[in-house]
């Protein structure tokens, strides 16, 4: 089957079986390797992407269900102000250990910040509990999300002041 996907602002034509998960189309057909395979069952969040801004587990999202939704992956999220702030906070806090889960973590965090500018710990719990980090970088993930949220407030204040 032929599909036209809209990935990180670009139209991509692919020809795959209709039940192929979006994850494998991204990884193995259009060679965006940042989205990771962890469980194949929507249990670990390593494959998280955005469909029209909402977080989705691409390992259990069949290509036939993507339709015209705008697909954003870790490779594209840095083009959004929230994504860029999160990536910077991730580096400032030095979150990463092995790094394998972090694309999915950042995608879930970006969806959270798009909905909730200054998330509480409870908000973070709800948004991030589906993303497993086997290295246990959770304390730093929490800190980085808060830092990215604060950076937004800082930017807003500066703008206002100017």
């Amino acid at each position: 089957m032929q599909y036209t996907l809209h990935v990180n602002g670009r139209a991509r034509k692919v020809d795959v079986d209709s039940d192929t998960p979006l994850l494998w189309v991204l990884r193995d057909v259009i060679d965006l390797k940042g989205t990771k395979f962890g469980c194949g069952a929507g249990l670990c969040g390593a494959c998280t992407v955005h469909l029209d801004g909402a977080p989705a587990r691409s390992c259990v999202t069949a290509i036939s269900n993507v339709g015209t939704a705008a697909v954003t992956t870790i490779e594209g999220i840095g083009n959004t102000p929230i994504g860029a702030r999160l990536q910077k906070a991730w580096l400032d806090v030095d979150v990463v250990q092995c790094g394998y889960c972090q694309p999915g973590q950042i995608m879930s965090a970006a969806a959270l910040l798009a909905q909730t500018k200054t998330p509480s710990d409870e908000d973070i719990n709800r948004a991030m509990n589906g993303n497993i980090c086997r290295c246990g970088t959770y304390p730093r993930i929490r800190e980085a999300i808060k830092q990215a949220a604060k950076a937004d407030l800082g930017a807003a204040a500066t703008k206002k002041g100017a």
Partner: protein, 746 residues
């Protein structure tokens, strides 16, 4: 980059290599310098013990690190060990860069190939890289710096002693002249190599990189999804493979519908792999090779295999427990340690406590499932592997495929979590075999069920304990019967017990014996092997004895540790003073014993020595009336010597190890039924999640000991600290893992 090779027939620095390869006779480190391809300085370094590992008459190159200095003053440092998230790819180059005296911003880092003949030990395991590489890597940097200074002094016709270095430049203060390393590298490369025993190392107070937080080198690419792990490997013409093995360990293929599977969309071939009987090698199964992984995985759903499941089919976790309990009522089959007379001391003790402890099998469940890409063709193999231990993988592939190990190239990719799982190379030999049989480069990728059901598990264990207190509440007797797995008196992998584990040596009457259950389940090292389970048993039972004695558990351990002394045991021996110091510090930073906690909240403490590191930890928990557990916080104090090379990474690693321990204690259990693993994904085998992760406050005591590793020692005490906190909160003693919330209900 190309690697200069040095053969046994060549001479080097005026000394024949043969003299140096007689390693037992030579304790000299040595260096090699040559012009690098880019016209800069290439510095290599070898260790005597690595020389010893080389066969005497083979053409071996024995370098284990490289520094390249380009004319533009960019310094490229090769990192030789597998990076699994422990931060080694940042840390080893930090040691070289510090002594070379360059700015970190000048440094670029490259991962080496796997080649033990060149690089020596390339293993991510045992928390050993720091103690083994601390001196050698710094000397590599210092020797290069010394040669650059000599080159500058020669050019300026001044004494070496009049020159110094700063930020990748040599300076002559008196004349105000300075030259970059890049400008000096070519000349420096022609100078004699300093004797590594005599190179001057910096004073710790002058460190600009060591002891300062350096963020992980791959971070900037990782947060953009640009870094490539094993699973991301692409080779031209590559096909994708899945491999179905018998769910019962050791089972063989009788027949399979490979013709039907071979006709599925995208499938190029499907075939039976006969395999062998060694659970660590190539096991029997059915390979499906397709144009995409998804097509291979889908075809697998149509696969029907008739297995000969073999003898292990009769084994189960329940059956093992029944056997263990039966053993527990008997005398141990063999003794591990006997001090004094434990039986007599228990008879005359004022108070005796008896307890049985049990922990289950657990899996590693790295987030990146096992995978490997291989191209096997014409007697050669090229392999891209997320492995912690490439060299045994090469040997396994060579033996199984009948290849010369020299004709096998192994690229060490980034590794999406190791925890000991990838010390084994079963997935590597599978990929190589399938590539050869398919006649094409192949990326083999396991699904999550493959990963959880074909692991090398942390072995389950059972401990039957008796402890005796005298009139004054002192621990005078300890009797322990460990029921584990193995055969003919030999423990299975990671199923052993180190009989020097504290409180051994501090209890006058102590006996530890063991009995073994033969089994067919593959086991292997999991982060802090042995200790991840034994700390739970030893440190929980000491806590039981403290409560029986009516003592504060932390003070009880301090009293039990007694005088400063190094007791015979693993590593450098067990230093009671270092253990006591971390306990005292954790008492201080956690505010132990101060302030009231609400009802059903409590604190527990544990201290443990493993992999050369000492950690004391306090956990605070709150147990809801319905038995649900919340870990409020963990305080940890570690002594891994000094300096702590990369503080940000050290804190991260300690937090991660402690949280890993929490996950094992709270969630994790592998159940064997009919010789196979019941759990298949993260719903039933659950790693710790964010909501379960408490804040972890980490402190390091900077002692006068050389720095040691951190991958493992923070983990073991986390589990008993947590369990002891539950006792403090509820009066319920956790003697079985994982923690069952049911009995904790109010």
């Amino acid at each position: 980059m190309s690697h200069a090779r040095l053969t046994s027939k060549q001479s080097w620095g005026g000394q024949p290599l043969a003299a140096l390869t007689a390693a037992s006779a030579s304790r000299r480190d040595f260096l090699k310098v040559s012009a690098s391809a880019g016209g800069g300085l290439l510095l290599s370094f070898a260790l005597p013990d690595l020389v010893a590992a080389a066969a005497p008459d083979t053409e071996t190159t024995i370098f284990n690190a490289y520094v390249r200095i380009a004319p533009d003053n960019i310094v490229t440092i090769m990192s030789k060990n597998p990076e699994i998230g422990q931060g080694i790819k940042t840390m080893l180059p930090m040691l070289i860069a510090e002594e070379l005296d360059v700015d970190w911003s000048q440094v670029r880092i490259e991962q080496t190939l796997a080649d033990s003949a060149i690089y020596g030990r390339q293993v991510a395991g045992g928390s050993m890289a720091t103690p083994l590489e601390w001196d050698p890597m710094r000397k590599v940097g210092a020797a290069a710096r010394q040669m650059l200074v000599a080159a500058a002094a020669r050019r300026w016709k001044v004494a070496v002693s009049e020159c110094d270095t700063v930020s990748g430049k040599v300076r002559h203060q008196a004349s105000g002249r300075a030259l970059s390393y890049g400008a000096l590298a070519a000349a420096a490369a022609k100078l004699p190599v300093p004797n590594l025993d005599r190179v001057k190392l910096k004073d710790a107070k002058d460190y600009k990189i060591i002891g300062h937080s350096v963020p992980g080198v791959d971070g900037p690419k990782m947060v953009k999804g640009e870094t490539l792990f094993g699973i991301d490997t692409v080779v031209p013409g590559m096909l994708y493979a899945v491999f179905e093995k018998c769910p019962v360990f050791g089972g063989k293929v009788v027949e399979a519908n490979i013709d039907a599977v071979g006709k599925m969309p995208g499938v190029r071939s499907a075939f039976v792999v006969q395999g062998g009987t060694d659970l660590t090698g190539l096991m029997p199964g059915v390979a499906i090779v397709a144009e995409s992984w998804w097509q291979a995985e889908k075809a697998r759903q149509k696969l029907q295999v008739k297995w000969n499941e073999g003898a292990t089919r009769a084994q189960s976790s329940d059956g093992f427990t029944r056997q263990a309990v039966a053993f527990g009522s008997k005398t141990p089959a063999a003794s591990l340690r006997n001090d004094g007379d434990a039986a007599a001391a228990l008879k005359s003790a004022a108070r005796v406590v008896e307890a049985a402890y049990h922990y289950p099998f657990i899996a590693h469940a790295t987030l990146e499932p096992m995978n490997c890409t291989a191209r096997v063709q014409g007697g050669r193999a090229e392999i891209w592997a997320p492995t912690q231990n490439p060299e045994p993988g090469r040997q396994l592939v060579a033996k199984t495929l009948g290849l010369d190990p020299k004709n096998i190239t192994i690229h060490m990719t980034l590794v999406g979590g190791g925890f000991g799982r990838r010390l084994m190379n079963d997935y590597m030999v599978e990929a190589a075999w399938i590539s050869k049989a398919a006649g094409a480069p192949v990326k083999l990728l396991w699904n999550r069920a493959d990963d959880i059901q074909h692991d090398f598990y942390r072995p389950a264990g059972w401990h039957f304990l008796k402890g005796g207190l005298d009139q004054d509440g002192r621990l005078v007797a300890w009797q322990q019967h460990f029921v584990s797995f193995g055969d003919n008196g030999r423990f299975a992998s990671s199923a052993n017990l180190d009989a020097s584990t504290f409180p051994a040596g501090r209890v006058p009457n102590l006996s530890i014996g063991y009995s073994l259950i033969p089994f067919g389940i593959p086991t292997g090292p999991l982060r802090a092997p042995g200790d991840n389970a034994l700390a739970f048993v030893f440190q929980s039972f000491i806590d039981e004895m403290a409560h029986a004695a009516g003592e504060d558990p932390l003070q009880f351990q301090i009293d039990l540790l007694g005088n400063d002394e190094t007791l015979a045991g693993r590593g450098e021996g067990f230093n009671t003073g270092r253990a006591r110091a971390v306990l005292e510090k954790v008492r201080e930073v956690s505010g132990w014993g101060k302030g009231d906690l609400p009802p059903r909240a409590g604190r527990g403490v544990a201290v443990y020595y493993s992999h050369l590191g000492y950690f004391a930890e306090v956990a605070e928990v709150a147990v809801a009336n319905d038995g649900r557990l919340k870990i409020n916080k963990v305080w940890a104090v570690g002594d891994i010597g000094s300096p702590v090379i990369n503080p940000t990474a050290a804190e991260n690693m300690a937090q991660g190890g402690i949280l890993d321990g929490c996950g094992e204690a709270l969630n994790q259990k592998i159940t064997i039924e009919n010789g196979r693993v019941v759990q298949a994904n993260f719903d039933t085998f659950a790693p710790l999640r964010l909501t379960q992760a408490p804040p972890v406050e980490v402190h390091f005591l900077k002692t006068d000991h050389s720095p040691t590793g951190l991958g493992e020692p923070p983990l073991p005490p986390a589990i008993p600290a947590l369990c002891n906190a539950i006792f403090a909160a509820t009066g319920k003693r956790i003697r079985t893992l994982p923690i069952d919330p049911e009995p904790l209900k109010a």
